[in-house]
């Protein structure tokens, strides 16, 4: 069969309902839909302030068919630690506590709480769906915004001047049992990773690239394609790190040039050819670093 297998690799049934308030083409509800397929109904979601706070719907509605606990921006992992303790006290060890939060609540505002929970190796699953800026409040830059990108706080004349924080390496440095990257373009890979994480104990971290059509200035129907291009151009490689030591790629990366990925997005439209070359050089350097880190991995290209 020449079509990639997908139908029999993705579980039936959705715990995300229609009518949620995500923008058309938003990847976050797609990511949530896929993650919940892997996690099942025995899940409690802890949700610090992020786009999904809105997507989940206004009280008394909820777009998630599992309990959701909305929390303040900086407190996701702390609240999750408390819920975990309460569940454990009640003997509910098999309930998954999922922290679902954006890049602002992870890279910037929630970082100390996350680091603390990871240091204590709290038994929680933390998913950062990263749309690379504070999209919900009007596209302000975060420390996940890539170098050169336009946001409302980094206008095209003065675009983002710092590199995106390497959050996977930060989390891996906590030597947690599992840290991985994933994205909506590869649903089977995403579900495999969430399923694997669900079966483990301790702090598990998934960094999930989540394209945002209004913030990235792309078409509503382009998010999945852009996520695919991000992976294949090695902007956002697909990785797993176990115990902070064993790094491996979870698929092959074509190594396509980054330029087509950038040019499809209005937030990079102002970039000059030199700036694109600079981004390509940064990607290549990061890739070399990853190739060294994954040196024991069978998928490393020669």
């Amino acid at each position: 069969m020449s079509q990639l297998r997908i139908a029999d690799c993705v579980p039936e049934g959705d715990l995300l309902t229609s009518g949620h308030l995500a923008c058309p083409g938003c990847a976050a509800p797609l990511a949530m839909k896929l993650a919940l397929k892997a996690l099942g109904p025995n899940t409690i979601v802890v949700m610090p302030a992020c786009c999904f706070t809105i997507i989940a719907g206004p009280w008394p509605q909820s777009s998630l068919q599992v309990p959701v606990f909305h929390t303040a921006f900086a407190t996701g992992p702390a609240v999750a630690s408390g819920i975990r303790a309460a569940l454990d006290t009640q003997g509910k060890f098999d309930t998954t506590v999922l922290v679902w939060v954006g890049d602002g609540g992870t890279f910037d505002i929630g970082l100390q709480a996350l680091s603390g929970a990871a240091e204590r190796n709290e038994n929680i699953l933390y998913v950062c769906y990263d749309n690379e800026a504070y999209m919900n409040t009007g596209i302000q830059r975060s420390s996940a915004t890539p170098w050169g990108a336009w946001t409302t706080t980094t206008p095209a004349q003065y675009p983002e001047a710092t590199n995106k924080k390497d959050i996977l390496a930060i989390m891996a440095a906590h030597n947690i049992p599992y840290a991985a990257t994933a994205t909506v373009a590869y649903p089977v890979d995403l579900i495999d990773k969430v399923t694997k994480a669900k079966a483990m104990r301790g702090t598990r971290f998934i960094h999930l690239l989540s394209p945002c059509p209004p913030g990235w200035k792309c078409g509503d129907d382009e998010g999945v394609e852009l996520a695919r291009m991000a992976v294949q151009s090695r902007v956002f490689p697909m990785l797993e790190v176990e115990d902070g030591r064993r790094w491996r790629f979870t698929m092959e990366h074509a190594g396509d040039p980054v330029e087509p990925y950038l040019r499809r997005q209005g937030r990079f439209r102002h970039l000059s050819a030199e700036q694109v070359s600079h981004i390509q050089a940064e990607i290549d350097a990061h890739w070399q670093q990853l190739v060294q880190r994954t040196a024991q991995d069978a998928l490393v290209p020669a």
Partner: protein, 584 residues
């Protein structure tokens, strides 16, 4: 005691923390959209590009699902001679295949051939439907005649084919050498046509043994499919010399079992399939062969594989060579004088025109075979039927200017290939059926029978399409409508060939074909352009969970919730979802 409040779904106790009591299904986010998706099955380019009008995508899809018998029946419903076309068709379907730029076109010819060979071992399908009282005569048993007779028989008519040769098959038997089309493949396909109740009377020449007048009195309609059997003359001095002969005459001799002595060096003039057949047959008789063609390789009208094979087997090609004279020695041709040509501006056929350079050169020849095209011998046969030197004039359904006379194949002025002849025979059959039933449909009705702007479908004409189509749109799906990210590269199966030395040594079939298992594998390479295969990609990628699967496997879009983002259409591997502008 907790206080109570009244919400949209009734009075409830206020919990200690604010808790949701209902889902977001109350929010009809469908009102946000300005475009909406819809499932529309469209036409795969192979179907539109097939001159026969075969539902190629349809039978490949059935094969993918392992429904081999249904696939065979669908193929046979449109094409009476799959074992033949699987071998000798120039397969324009593969030239239009959307897979060709990804990892190579699906080897449709190889699958068709395997299906044709499988069909030979199975009984003909039982014909259902009303028998009709009218009888139809078909003159000529080549591909056009066989196709016309076959489809008429399936429509319920009694059909008699008159063939002037001793065996049925026309150019398939007399023109195409056995190393390309083994006689058991041809005989098997013809036997199935006969099994449909078609009577074939061989050795009967109309105008000689039976008059045209008698024919038109005995039958309710007549289809003329006599072919084009006259080699066109070069019109240069020395063409009448012994040793210069029309390629078609040579092929007819070889294909009826004769092994003429051609001498040591044979020159073939021409660049079409007849020229390639002459060259390769002559090599099999031990001659050294030079092909002289007035343009270059790129402009050769022959099937590319035939040129490749001729080269592989050792034929020498002299391009840009236009014959101007044949020289004589001892009362026989001894050489061809040719003028060196250069390529000029494109002509009416779109190919670059050869222009003379004034430079002449000589090629030695013991025998010259001319193959620069064929014309049909129309002398006196048809009386007042309109036609020109290039053939009879026919309408979209094979009708001539005479009410009951239809025509198809090389005798008409349309493209001269086996596939075009089969397609023309089918059109004439539908034309005759409409004529005899006094059914006068309009152009729109006729166009609905076409695969996009391709040939007519007999299955659609009979109203028996076994494929369930979702809101079909009769438009071709282009390569840009597909999402190749959902496919993996699977190399095309190459045809196994006899090695050149063995091939040259006799008339054994050169292309050994794929095994049935390999052909079934190849069928699975089909992308199913434009036709939903219920692969779940749309269902999985919908961020609004607005797509659900019905009991029969098809999908429903909840337009109350769909925001019109278009991800389903963008991610659909095969262009089976179309986004349309929402009305305000």
């Amino acid at each position: 005691m907790p206080e109570t409040i009244t919400t949209t779904d009734g009075a409830r106790a206020i919990p200690e923390v604010a808790m949701s009591t209902t889902s977001t299904l109350v929010t009809r986010t469908g009102s946000w959209k300005y475009t909406r998706p819809a499932y529309h099955d469209r036409v795969a380019p192979c179907n539109a590009g097939c001159p026969v009008g075969i539902d190629i995508e349809g039978y490949l899809n059935l094969l993918r699902e392992g429904r081999v018998d249904e696939a065979r029946d669908l193929l046979l419903a449109e094409n009476p001679l799959p074992a033949v076309t699987g071998r000798v068709c120039h397969h324009p379907c593969e030239n239009t295949c959307n897979r060709r730029t990804f990892d190579g076109a699906v080897a449709i010819h190889a699958v068709e051939r395997a299906m044709g060979d499988l069909a030979r071992q199975r009984p003909a399908p039982v014909l259902k439907g009303k028998r009709r009282t009218e009888r139809v005569a078909v003159v000529g048993s080549g591909p056009a005649g066989l196709a016309c007779a076959y489809h008429l028989a399936r429509f319920g008519y009694g059909v008699t084919i008159y063939e002037s040769a001793q065996e049925a098959g026309g150019m398939l038997r007399l023109g195409i050498p056995e190393y390309r089309l083994p006689r058991e493949a041809l005989d098997g396909d013809i036997a199935r046509v006969v099994a449909h109740g078609v009577e074939i009377k061989c050795g009967v020449r109309i105008g000689e043994h039976v008059t045209w007048k008698e024919l038109t009195e005995l039958f309710s309609a007549v289809c003329i499919a006599t072919g084009a059997h006259t080699s066109r003359a070069l019109g240069v001095p020395g063409e009448q010399l012994p040793g210069v002969q029309p390629g078609l005459v040579f092929l007819r001799d070889v294909n009826s079992g004769k092994r003429p002595d051609l001498g040591r060096h044979v020159v073939v003039v021409g660049g079409g399939n007849t020229a390639m057949d002459c060259a390769r047959s002559a090599m099999r008789l031990g001659a050294k062969v030079t092909v002289a063609y007035r343009r270059t390789r790129e402009q050769m009208p022959a099937i590319k594989e035939e040129v490749d094979d001729a080269m592989r087997e050792g034929a020498e090609f002299v391009f840009l060579a236009n014959p101007v004279e044949f020289q004589e020695a001892n009362g026989r041709v001894c050489a061809l004088v040719a003028e060196r040509m250069a390529l000029g501006e494109p002509d009416a056929s779109g190919r670059r025109r050869p222009v003379p350079t004034g430079e002449h050169f000589t090629i030695e020849a013991d025998t010259v075979l001319t193959a620069i095209g064929e014309s049909s011998a129309l002398e006196g046969f048809f009386g007042d039927v309109e036609g020109s030197d290039s053939g009879l004039q026919v309408d979209a359904l094979g009708g001539t200017n005479r009410d009951m006379l239809y025509a198809g194949g090389d005798v008409t002025d349309l493209a001269r290939t086996v596939a075009d002849a089969l397609g023309a025979g089918k059109r004439a059959a539908i034309g005759i059926d409409r004529h005899l039933r006094r059914h006068h449909g309009d152009t729109a009705e006729l166009n609905a029978l076409r695969f996009a702007d391709g040939n007519l479908s007999a299955v659609r004409w009979m109203g028996r399409d076994p494929i369930r189509r979702v809101n079909p749109v009769n438009a071709v799906v282009g390569v840009d409508d597909l999402n190749f990210a959902q496919y993996q590269r699977v190399p095309r199966h190459a045809d196994p060939h006899l090695d050149s030395d063995r091939a040259r040594g006799g008339f054994d079939e050169v292309n050994a074909g794929l095994s049935t298992a390999e052909a079934m594998d190849e069928a699975k390479r089909c992308l199913n352009c434009g036709v939903c295969t219920q692969c779940d990609v749309c269902l999985i990628f919908c961020p609004d969970a607005a797509i659900t699967r019905a009991a029969d496997g098809s999908y429903t879009i909840a337009l109350d919730y769909c925001k019109g983002c278009g991800l389903c259409a963008a991610e659909c591997p095969r262009g089976a979802i179309t986004m349309t502008q929402d009305r305000p």
